[in-house]
Point group: C2
């Protein structure tokens, strides 16, 4: 059947395009990470830890856009495989600061280069000005969606 005609409203929707772009990016990342035996969430967690050492489970979950329960099972696997380490007890409060091991850091180096290649390809047709435009526009969308002040349904 025809797949390219009858584009009524979907392709003109910012939301649909956003989902399409996100899906394409995720697929491309999976394609390059799979040969390395790593998933996207896997990589996201390690990258977060490289850039902000000592993040807790909950903080990592927020940074990777998953629940803290999901991040917890992921961290247990990463710890079992020797990519990250956590103290047995919290020095203060309940948060356990997580850190990359040397093994985790070296694995991340390879993955990071692969992912950087994907992001470069995605931005290949955009010049510096357009990239900044895209960043700014996306950031404003996030703010509009997240900021409670702009949510008429949540005045409380």
């Amino acid at each position: 059947m025809s797949q390219e005609d009858a584009q009524i409203e979907l392709e003109t929707s910012v939301g649909y395009l956003l989902k399409e772009a996100s899906s394409a990016l995720r697929s491309a990342m999976e394609a390059v990470l799979r040969p390395l035996g790593m998933s996207v969430t896997h990589y996201s967690c390690l990258e977060l830890l490289a850039q902000r050492p000592g993040l807790s489970n909950s903080e990592l979950a927020r940074g990777a856009f998953v629940t803290r329960q999901s991040m917890n099972v992921l961290l247990q696997a990463l710890e079992r495989d020797g990519f990250v380490s956590r103290p047995d007890q919290a020095a203060e409060g309940r948060a356990l600061p997580t850190r990359l091991t040397e093994l985790g850091r070296s694995r991340l180096t390879v993955a990071s280069a692969a992912v950087r290649g994907v992001e470069d390809r995605m931005r290949s047709g955009l010049d510096a000005v357009e990239r900044e435009q895209l960043r700014a526009l996306l950031a404003r969308c996030v703010t509009a969606l997240t900021d409670p002040a702009s949510d008429p349904a949540a005045p409380r």
Copy 2:
């Protein structure tokens, strides 16, 4: 711990912002669809069928960015609940053209209004020119990621 400082590179990455925006949009959609007893994929499928009646399972899957296996289980549930209908046999080939029932159409009307509200909120801070800019930039990112010609790793 601090969550707002030490923003080294993550927030300057288009890919990360794209994921953040997509996640925020999905969360907002889930929030308004949940009271209606509908999931995002649920809604996506119905919306696709409303705008392009007669799409097959595989075509719906591509439009909703899931595998055709996932869409198949979703369609079976939607059919069981009386939201969509499919012929028992294919008139030609194997593709089964799917159509909304009256019940499905009425349910979609409510959900569609709710989702439109979310998208309006997302774009609330953007004027017409900026929305068009965002659409164009996202579309170019999708092309760059999807077009095999721009993928140096897949010349074959």
